[in-house]
């Protein structure tokens, strides 16, 4: 697996207004250019930006303006008719779909443009090779009771200490929220006292340097210095490695689809843009950013 270039979440938020200003500025100053508005998920904002830049090189007459703000913001914007394409790292809720029907008279169309799988990994010295979501909830959840490696069947003495060192992400990150929701369900909190890494790269580094640690990150960040675990839904159930195939088939349990919504069937430039995103050239971008492509890539 390839390590992906360091796009840290806080930095991306910092650049967002700057990029937006540049993009908006350009589209105003040039005549005869088609402009597409693309808004939504912060998780996808780097990806959307990379697509926009690559597409502009491929088709200089089309400018895609990318805005973050979060999935909810993007969907609201789509419903209000303020954007052409909404990026979403979750599916639209029934009330959002109803609001779109009511306001615009058109039902939103969903495109799965890629997948993001969260890998759970340990130090290479750790003999553990699989884990279940139930066990992760016991380790990371506020009401969880597993605190020692021996409770997971790791013999004492192999890791220096028996204590499980939980590597987490800073609580404002989208990866943190997604992990929390998938492992614990809605409305639950993660146990305090975890070592909170500032960025996915940091989480991988910390686990690589700490024999008794367990951590998680998008699969694109995983390096050979950590050991990804096979993950199952239940204890003893079938477990899968975080791979592109397992993410695409839905077997890997911590996989989220990366979606783009349009109002009704897209026409013209939006249609061409979506087709390009799903083409090998567009899917190459998603592969290089460390996400899972949905189709063939170059």
């Amino acid at each position: 697996m390839k390590s992906r270039p360091g796009f840290d979440a806080p930095r991306k938020c910092f650049w967002l207004p700057v990029l937006t200003a540049i993009v908006v500025g350009c589209s105003r100053s040039t005549e005869g250019i088609i402009s597409l508005r693309n808004e939504g998920s912060d998780t996808m904002v780097n990806l959307a930006q990379a697509w926009a830049e690559e597409y502009h090189r491929y088709r200089p007459t089309v400018k895609v303006q990318v805005l973050g703000g979060g999935t909810g913001v993007g969907i609201a914007s789509l419903i209000d008719g303020n954007c052409d394409l909404a990026n979403a790292s979750r599916r639209m809720k029934p009330d959002e779909l109803a609001a779109a029907e009511k306001n615009r008279g058109q039902s939103p169309k969903e495109y799965v443009v890629g997948y993001d799988a969260l890998a759970v990994f340990v130090h290479p010295k750790n003999p553990l090779d699989r884990i279940s979501l139930e066990e992760l909830a016991e380790i990371y959840g506020e009401e969880g009771t597993i605190t020692k490696w021996s409770e997971l069947g790791v013999p004492q003495g192999t890791l220096g200490t028996d204590k499980i060192i939980r590597i987490n992400r800073q609580s404002s990150s989208g990866t943190y929220a997604y992990f929390r929701e998938t492992v614990l369900g809605k409305g639950k909190d993660l146990k305090l006292g975890s070592v909170d890494a500032n960025g996915s790269k940091d989480a991988v580094n910390l686990v690589a340097l700490t024999p008794a640690a367990i951590g998680y990150s998008g699969m694109g960040y995983v390096t050979e210095n950590v050991k990804p675990l096979r993950v199952s839904k239940r204890r003893g159930g079938p477990a899968f490695l975080p791979s592109a195939e397992n993410a695409r088939s839905g077997d890997y349990p911590i996989t989220r689809p990366l979606l783009i919504y349009t109002l009704g069937t897209p026409q013209g430039a939006a249609k061409e843009y979506l087709e390009w995103i799903l083409s090998p050239a567009g899917q190459k971008v998603i592969y290089h950013l460390g996400y899972v492509p949905v189709a063939e890539y170059e």
Binding site: T161, I165, S172, D189, L192, V195, N205, L209, A213
Partner: protein, 294 residues
């Protein structure tokens, strides 16, 4: 002729430069206060802020803003850093000022300046990549980024300040004191211990206080060195989280104007107040030196 006209102009320019420092401090304080203020009238429970250890700002169920663990994190890391840096720093100051030859003195001072010039983020890398594995190996710690790691790194970072200010304080003691002590038959150690320390005590205290201020305010290196874990440490090898590191890691993604954002600015206010207090005390202590000497 020209200089006659230039002089008042220059005087004004310099005056503006001087006043600008006051202007900036007040402007920064007003900005931080303005951003934090709605929290006091809104939902922030100050009792919870200072007494709860539950820092769950992005909880879906119920966000909680208990900063006690962060406050204790900041205090313990700084205290540990001072425990290491003060004896080392004052010892080095005494050696440089009283014992070593002129050539070595120059070498040491240049080296110290280099130590002071190392950027915070580089210290963070040293903590993270170098010191953490060493700590795991030598102490059997479960995780290498912890209180001890942060304390050592902060101690190294505040050493140059403590040494150079401490040396200044010792240098300010008039030579007549040393000569008088020598004439009475005191040994070199007795001169340091009985004459120089009492005479320079305010200056030395100020050096230590400014070192504390440096340690409390440091952000990037402690963010990487301490492990950033919200808990009250039970041993030197437990990871902790400081107030400064919390702001650094969370402000970027908090919703501007939201409760989380406001609380981070309240933390900023707390830090501002504490560093103001420490600097004020250090100033008063240094003033004490001056009035004693005149």
């Amino acid at each position: 002729m020209l200089s006659d006209r230039l002089e008042p102009l220059m005087e004004w320019l310099v005056r503006i430069c001087g006043w600008s420092a006051i202007f900036f401090v007040i402007a920064i304080f007003l900005f931080v206060f303005r951003e934090a203020a709605p929290a006091f009238f809104g939902k922030l429970n100050l009792w919870e802020f200072f007494t709860s250890t539950r820092w769950q700002p992005s909880s879906d169920a119920r966000p909680e803003y208990g900063a006690l663990a962060l406050i204790i994190g900041s205090v313990t890391v700084s205290a540990l850093a001072m425990l290491i840096a003060v004896p080392l720093g004052l010892g080095a100051a005494v050696y440089i000022s009283e014992f070593c030859g002129p050539t070595l003195k120059e070498v040491l001072k240049i080296t110290l300046e280099l130590l002071a010039a190392i950027p915070s983020i580089v210290w963070g890398f040293i903590a993270y990549m170098l010191l953490a594995p060493i700590l795991i190996k030598t102490t059997g710690a479960a995780v290498g980024v912890n209180l001890l790691n942060g304390g050592i790194i902060l101690a190294l970072m505040s050493l140059p300040l403590i040494i150079s200010l401490g040396e200044d304080a010792l240098k300010a003691v008039p030579d007549a004191y040393r000569e008088a002590a020598l004439a009475l038959g005191a040994s070199r150690w007795e001169i340091v211990y009985r004459v120089l320390f009492p005479a320079a005590k305010n200056g030395l205290l100020a050096a230590v206080l400014l070192g504390v201020g440096r340690a409390l305010g440091e952000t990037m290196a402690v963010l990487m060195a301490t492990g950033h874990a919200v808990q009250i440490p039970r041993s030197l090898l437990d990871p902790v989280r400081t107030l400064t590191a919390t702001i650094a890691s969370e402000l970027g993604e908090s919703v501007a104007g939201g409760p989380h954002y406001r609380v981070l600015f309240v933390i900023g206010l707390v830090l501002f107040a504490v560093s103001f207090l420490i600097n004020l005390i250090a100033d008063l202590v240094i003033k004490g030196v001056r009035s004693e000497q005149t």
